[in-house]
Amino acid sequence: MKKSIYNLEFKLFFRNSSSWIGIIVLLITGVAGLYFGKTFIANQQAVIEKAAMLQKKNTLSNIDHFGKDIGLLFYHNKFSLANAPNAWAAFANGQRDINPYLISVTMLGLEGQIYDTDINNPVSLLLGNMDLSFVFIFLFPLVIIAFSYNLLSEQKESGVWSLLSAQTNRSFRVIWQKFLVRVAVIFSVALLLLFVAILYLHLPVDFIFFSITTLIIFYLAFWFAVSFFIISLAKSSNFNASALVAIWVLICIVIPASLNLFLTRKYPMPEALQNVINQREGYHEKWDMAKEVTMKPFFEHYPELKQYPFPQEKTFSWFWYYAMQQMGDDQAMPSRHAIENKLAARQRFTNTLAFFFPTIQTQLGINNMAGSDLNTHLDFQQAVRKYHEQIRWHFYPGIFLNKAVDSTDVKDYKLEKYSPQQTPSVWVNLLSISILTVILIGTTAFNFKRQEQF
């Protein structure tokens, strides 16, 4: 008996052309999202491969041009570290278009190089990427709304409801069954798209996969809860549609956009500009000062390098030059930390806010899992700093002793790839979304109970 009712409800649902339109829109945009997301990441992978090739070529041509002067060689030669995308980055491109994924630096002052951006089209950045996470976060809720806004109101407006109420006192059960059919359809489409994503993007079925899947399911459940809540108010179809779209616009656009404006106002970033100035002055002013001013702090920074003879009497030496460059970085240290603190404050602020807004929560959670968020980029920057420091340590002695270039192993330096250290978790994201969903379902149940009494 029960099974046949669901069969009937499914038939009713699929007989409606708008149901098919909704499903097809999700599938088409989903496939488009997969395609564009993959293209975007494949392009980055190709660039990294090319960079590996160019790293070798450029080092050889630099040795050819400047091989006689080791200090000059390292003035020109660049070393590259790439933040290679993992498979999930194609699922959620996140901030990977804005933040550079390939940083090439010389041994000179790092603070003057590490913030260099990629060359990209600002209009594309403004309009945003088309990837599968966009479909899940923005379009799925809309289809959920379209499928469920008139569940109760349509019955009432067509007069079926009064007939039904007269025949059974469990009329709300019918609404619940209709609702479950829609839940089943939406989740099937979502899982189907995720399954296609596994095959097309070669996603590993691992912890990240289950985290993201759970996050998406929770997020979609939240939207069902919102729709069900509005249905439970028992208003007209037009009211429901307007209210639900208004909620979507508020949660997906207006509130995040307003909060963002508030965020930039609360945490402005003048430190970044100050940092550039500190680095530039810290290095350049040393040219006009006694060598002591540079060498004393330099040897305090690297006591181990004192063993190499410093040519005090020479007007210019690479030893002095590289030490001056180091001073730029050292003097930019306070402003660099100020930037880091400001960014951390921004992150805390966003995390707190995200607790109340599932859209922000899901977006941040997915980007975090996919390694395409700001934090991953900041970790990548730290890795560049570490790599740069290693290179300095490795080549400083050769430069300071003015050795022949052939005696170093600079030719062996290849492009290095950065791999994130820790696996992020989504527990907080899941928790906040589920709390909101439970609250909504509770209120909805209360609403229906009250109506049934009348």
Partner: protein, 481 residues
């Protein structure tokens, strides 16, 4: 006859505002607009003041540099900051996605760094609430809510027949309804524009230029036309729809498709069709070209060997050290000339590719008035792609002049005989530094902006024409019952 139109318009206007929900929505929108304007204006002031502060600091530091070798100054270089146009508080455009500061030094073209987007943890991707965003995205939604049942409700309640029997024509009805809805929009839009004008005037220190006032006028007209288009479409959909419900769902689906999905897809398609080179490929192509033309870093380069030979011949000397001017400076000036020309050509090519990428979205303005208005609005408020490119170009011109100025000083004032390894380095007086002027960005003239945006403007004009035609001539196909 126009009397009837205005009666219908007034009636629509009144009913709309009598509805408590509509009134609440309208007030809410008005309030958020006021807030967006205020916060946008505040942000503008904070950010612009920061940039101006650092601009002054950079200038002061440049002038304070002691006597030194001009080539040291060429490497010390200059920092330029991208200033905002006063009207950019109205529309943020690409502001947050474009860099703010660029380091200008000899031999090397750097990127414009530190965009707001680079500091964002992803929140920015939801958009930024600005006056323009509210007007472009949310006001149409309000219009849809106001007008989806403008005709269909009359039909459903049976009043439509009565109206048409009383000698009201379809045309009058459609125009009246459209104007009534626009009236509601204008009741928000007009005070808002007055506020905008006030804030803008205060940002320009109450000195209003002709160029800026014209910009503002075009802006007001474009938005007014946009609202008309949206209102007319709403009334038409309501007239043709089977029921109020189907009118509402059609309009909402259109809103989502045209404003949320389409911009991303058109841009993604543009990027796919016209791929732009990566930074490393771009740099490599430039390096290859420089190598072909003459690489001053290569000791065996034939181009520079030829220059050396001809100089030695002209001055009748056997060694470059005997030349009457600084040979190193001369070679650097030549190198700068070659490299910057090659760089500029590549940069031009790159910008052309970006323009082609954007062209898909621009052409899509003919099917999506939102996109054409967005382009016009960004261009008028100088927060668009072209302004950013123009900034890059002006900084490159400045960078080149600075480098060549320092090379000239070296050629003229630095001895051609290098001092010994332990001798004092050669230097010139710090008085020379003031000769290099400060970097000041100049915004493009409005006429240029309009030429650039002809496509978007004509798309909007086409839409205006199309909707007027539809209101005038489609009435015969509308069903009364």
């Amino acid at each position: 006859m126009p009397n009837r139109v205005s009666t219908i318009a007034k009636q629509t206007f009144k009913t709309a505002l009598n509805n408590r929900a509509t009134l609440a929505l309208t007030l809410l929108l008005g309030l958020s607009l006021g807030l967006a304007t205020y916060v946008g204006w505040q942000n503008f002031k904070t950010q612009n003041n920061q940039r101006l502060h650092y601009k002054e600091l950079v200038r002061a530091q440049w002038l304070a540099k002691p006597d030194k070798h001009p080539h040291r100054m060429a490497h010390y270089g200059y920092l330029a900051f991208r200033e905002k146009h006063e009207l950019s508080f109205f529309d943020f455009g690409i502001e947050s996605f474009a860099g703010v500061s660029i380091f200008l030094e000899a031999h090397k073209q750097n990127t414009v760094n530190f965009s707001e987007a680079g500091f964002s943890n992803g929140m920015l991707r939801f958009g930024e609430i600005s006056v323009a965003m509210v007007l472009q995205l949310l006001v149409p939604l309000l219009i849809f809510f106001l007008g989806y049942n403008s005709i269909s409700a009359e039909r459903e309640s049976g009043t439509l027949k009565i109206l048409l029997c009383q000698n009201v024509s379809w045309k009058q009805l459609l125009w009246g309804k459209t104007l009534g809805i626009i009236g509601v929009c204008l009741s928000i839009f007009i005070p808002l524009m007055l506020l905008t004008i006030l804030l803008w005037a205060s940002l320009s220190h109450w000195q209003i230029s002709g160029d800026a006032s014209l910009r503002l006028m075009i802006l007001v007209f474009s938005y007014a036309i946009y609202f008309f288009i949206v209102s007319a479409v709403t009334v038409l959909v309501s007239a043709f729809a089977r029921s109020s419900k189907s009118a509402l769902t059609t309009l909402l689906a259109c809103w989502i498709f045209f404003m949320v999905i389409m911009p991303r897809i058109t841009q993604a398609v543009g990027v796919k069709i016209y791929p732009s080179p990566s930074k490393i490929a771009f740099a490599d192509a430039i390096a290859t070209d420089i190598h072909k033309q003459g690489d001053s870093h290569n000791p065996d380069d034939p181009h520079y060997a030829a220059i050396k030979d001809s100089l030695l011949k002209t001055y009748g000397v056997t060694d470059v050290k005997k030349l009457p001017f600084n040979y190193g400076g001369y070679i650097m000036a030549e190198g700068e000339k070659i490299t910057s020309k090659i760089y500029s050509n590549h940069q031009k090519e790159l910008n052309k590719i970006f323009e082609k990428q954007n062209s898909i979205t621009k052409v899509a303005g003919f099917i999506n008035p939102y996109l054409s208005l967005k382009h016009i609005s960004m261009a008028i408020t100088a927060s668009d792609f072209n302004t950013f490119v123009d900034f890059q170009n002006q900084t490159e011109v400045y960078r080149y002049q600075l480098a060549q100025k320092m090379n000239k000083l070296q050629i003229d004032k630095i001895s051609n005989i290098a001092p010994g390894e332990e001798e004092k380095p050669l230097a010139i007086s710090k008085a020379n530094w003031a000769e290099q002027p400060d970097f000041n960005y100049h915004f493009g003239k409005l006429s240029l902006v309009i030429t650039n945006e002809l496509l978007a403007l004509s798309a909007l004009a086409c839409w205006l024409l199309a909707t007027v035609m539809l209101l005038q001539y489609t009435t015969r196909w509308i069903k009364t019952i």
